[in-house]
C-alpha cells in the first residue's frame, strides 16, 4: 500500500485558492519570529489527478456494505439509503454555523426537535438528548445522569454498576470513566440473566444495571419485566444499551420494558453509514425521573419557533461541543420519514427472520451453544470444527468467498465465537450463498485445513503481522528511512 507520503514532495501545484486581494503586509511583520513555524510540515504537493487516483485506488481496497454482505454481529450493517447522503449535503444544512442566531437556523432546530420527538416515542420514554456523538458517548452520558441522579438524592454510596458477562466492552469502560465500579453478573445456562444471581447482587450500593436487549447472544431476556422490577425495587436504575434495537423496532419499546435510560445508535439502527469507524450518533432517551439532569442546551418549541434552553440548574452540563452530530441525525430523521410505522415493523420482521433462517441452517454444521429462537443476531462457535481451526481462520476464509466475516471472539462467553447479524436488507438469495460458503468452509476445515490457515488468498494484502505491529509500532510515515 502506498501512502501520499510515498509521492514526491514537489513544489506546490496551486490553483485552489485565489490571490491575495488586500495589500500584503507579510508574515514577518504580522507574527513575531518566535511564534512562527520554521519547518514546513511534510505534506506532499500532488496534482489533482494523482491525488484522485491515490484515493480511488485506496477505496478499491476497502469493503463496505455497498460491496456485499457484511454480517458483522452487533454492528447492524444495513444499507444506507443514498437519498440521505444527498439531503445531508444540502448547503443550507451543511453550512449552518452552530453559533448562528436561532432565527437563522430554524430549519436545523426544527429537524433536531422533531427527530428527538420521534426518538422519544420509539424509546417509549419522555425526553431525549441528541448530544452524544456515538453509542459509547451515549453510555457515558447515561452514566453521568445516573451519577447526578444519586448525587441529588444523597445516595452517593451507590457506586456499583451491574453488568451481565455478555456486555459490550464499552459498557464497563463507560461506567468506570463515570466513576463507578463494575460488578459482572454471569449469564444463566439459557443465555439470560439468572434472577437469583441478580437478587444476590442487588443492594443499596448498586446505582444501575446496564442491559443489552436483546443481549449480545441475540437472545431476548424473556424475564425482562422481572429483571427491571427487581432493580427498581432495590432503588437502582435500568440502563438499556440500544445497539440491538433493530430486533424489535416498530413492535416494542424499551420504556415499556422498564428502561430508565436508553441509547440509540443512529449509525446502526437508523441507517446512517458507519464511515469506516465513525462518525456515529448516540442519542439517549430518559424517563421522567432523569429529565432534569439532561445535558444543556435542550431544544424547545414555543408556538412555531424553536430555540435553545440553557436554563436547567440540575443538568450535568455539556458533553459535546454543540448539539450532537447534526449531519448523522438528519440521516436518521430522513430514514424514519421514509419508513414510517409499517417500514419500521418490516425492519425488525425481516432482520429477525433472516437471523433465524441463518441460525437454523448453520446449526447443522457449526455448534450453536445457546439454541433457541434468536432475535436479529446469533452466536455460533468455531470450536471443534477441525484440528487447529480458529474463528479467525473461518473469518479469513469467508473473505475468499467474497463475504465480510462476522464479528469474532465476541461475546467472550462463547469459545471461538462467530457472531452473525444479517440485518433486514439481505435477501434469501444472499443468505443461501452465505450458508453454502459456511458449509464448504466447514468441510474444508476437515479436508484441507491449509485453505483456512492461509486465507485470505485473493485480497490486496494477506494476513498481516499483528505481533510486529504491536512490538515495534510504526504509527507515522517513516520519512527518515525513505
Amino acid at each position: 500500500m502506498n501512502t501520499i507520503f510515498d509521492h514526491k514532495l514537489a513544489k506546490g501545484v496551486g490553483g485552489l485558492l485565489p490571490a491575495l486581494d488586500v495589500p500584503e503586509q507579510g508574515i514577518e511583520k504580522l507574527i513575531p519570529s518566535s511564534l512562527r513555524r520554521t519547518h514546513a510540515p511534510r505534506i506532499p504537493n500532488l496534482s489533482e489527478p494523482e491525488l484522485v487516483r491515490h484515493y480511488t485506488h485506496l477505496s478499491k481496497v476497502n469493503y463496505g456494505i455497498d460491496d456485499g454482505f457484511y454480517p458483522l454481529g452487533s454492528c447492524t450493517m444495513k444499507y444506507n439509503p443514498k437519498i440521505n447522503e444527498d439531503l445531508a449535503r444540502l448547503p443550507g444544512f451543511a453550512n449552518a454555523h452552530p453559533l448562528a442566531d436561532e432565527d437563522l437556523v430554524q430549519g436545523s432546530l426544527k429537524l433536531l426537535y422533531e427527530a428527538s420527538r420521534y426518538l422519544c416515542r420509539i424509546a417509549g420514554l419522555v425526553e431525549v438528548t441528541l448530544q452524544p456523538a456515538a453509542g459509547a458517548h451515549g453510555e457515558l452520558c447515561g452514566m453521568f445522569l445516573v451519577k447526578r441522579y444519586f448525587e441529588k438524592r444523597g445516595e452517593e454510596k451507590r457506586k456499583r454498576i451491574l453488568l451481565p458477562d455478555s456486555a459490550h466492552g464499552t459498557n464497563p469502560s463507560s461506567a468506570t470513566i463515570a466513576g463507578f465500579s463494575v460488578t459482572e453478573i454471569p449469564s444463566g445456562k439459557d443465555g439470560m440473566i439468572n434472577l437469583a444471581t441478580l437478587e444476590e447482587a442487588l443492594d443499596d450500593t448498586v446505582a444501575a444495571i446496564m442491559l443489552t436487549v436483546p443481549n449480545t447472544l441475540g437472545i431476548f431476556e424473556e424475564r425482562i419485566l422481572e429483571v427491571t422490577n427487581m432493580v427498581h425495587a432495590a432503588g437502582s436504575l435500568c440502563y438499556f444499551d440500544g445497539a440491538n434495537l433493530n430486533a424489535f423496532l416498530g413492535r416494542a419499546r424499551p420504556g415499556d420494558m422498564g428502561a430508565d435510560i436508553f441509547h440509540f445508535n443512529l449509525h446502526k439502527t437508523l441507517s446512517a453509514p458507519h464511515g469506516g469507524g465513525g462518525p456515529g450518533s448516540g442519542p439517549i432517551a430518559v424517563a421522567q425521573s432523569l429529565v432534569d439532569f439532561l445535558p444543556v442546551p435542550r431544544i424547545v418549541k414555543d408556538e412555531n419557533r424553536y430555540r435553545f434552553d440553557w436554563n436547567s440548574p440540575h443538568s450535568i452540563g455539556c458533553i459535546h461541543s454543540f448539539y450532537g452530530n447534526f449531519g448523522v441525525i438528519l440521516k436518521a430523521y430522513a430514514y424514519l420519514l421514509l419508513l414510517g410505522d409499517t417500514g419500521l415493523r418490516e425492519v425488525s420482521e425481516n432482520a429477525v427472520l433472516n437471523a433465524n433462517y441463518l441460525q437454523e441452517s448453520l446449526k447443522q454444521t457449526y455448534p450453536l451453544p445457546y439454541e433457541r429462537l434468536c432475535k436479529h443476531e446469533f452466536v455460533l462457535s468455531g470450536k471443534g470444527l477441525g484440528e487447529g481451526i480458529s474463528a479467525l481462520d473461518i473469518a479469513k476464509r469467508l473473505i475468499d468467498y467474497g463475504f465480510h466475516p462476522p464479528t469474532i471472539y465476541f461475546p467472550l462467553i462463547v469459545p471461538e465465537a462467530l457472531m452473525i447479524e444479517p440485518t433486514e436488507c439481505e435477501g434469501k438469495e444472499t443468505l443461501d450463498r452465505f450458508i453454502e460458503a459456511m458449509e464448504r468452509i466447514a468441510a474444508e476445515a476437515k479436508e484441507n485445513p491449509r485453505l483456512l490457515h492461509e486465507a485470505p488468498q485473493y485480497t490486496p494484502v494477506r494476513r498481516l503481522d499483528q505481533t510486529r505491529a504491536a512490538r515495534q509500532p510504526i504509527l507515522t510515515y517513516p520519512f527518515d528511512e525513505r
Binding site: 471472539y409 499483528q466 505481533t467 504491536a470 512490538r471
Partner: protein, 127 residues
Amino acid sequence: MTHPTQFRYTKEHEWVDLEGNHAKVGITEHAQGELGDIVFVELPTVGTDVKKGENLATVESIKAVGDVYAPMSGTVVEVNTQLESSPETINQDPHGAGWLVILEVSDPSEADSFLDAPSYEQYLSEG
C-alpha cells in the same frame, strides 16, 4: 516435565523461585502459551510495596491483557528491564530469562500453599 521442579506454582499460572526471603516471579510456560505472542510488559517500579493478590505486572499479547498478581506480599527489589525492549523473551524462556520481578517477601511461609511442579501439571491436566 516442562515446569522446573525447584519452582512453586500458583493457580494463576505464576511461578515463584524462593531463596531465603527473595522470590523471583514469572509466568508459566502454560500461561505464555495461552496469551500467545507477548508484545508488551508493564513492570512495577523498584521499591513498590505489594500485598499478596494485588496487581504486580501486566503482560499483553495482541488480543489479551494478562494480569500478574503478587503471589506473596513484599517489596519489589528488582525488575527484568530487558523485557521492556524484548517482551518476546517471556515466550522464548518463560522460566528463565523471561522472569518478571524479584520480591523481598515479608512472610516466606505464604509460599507453603503453592503447588509443586507435579501438582501444577496435574492441575493443568484437569483444566
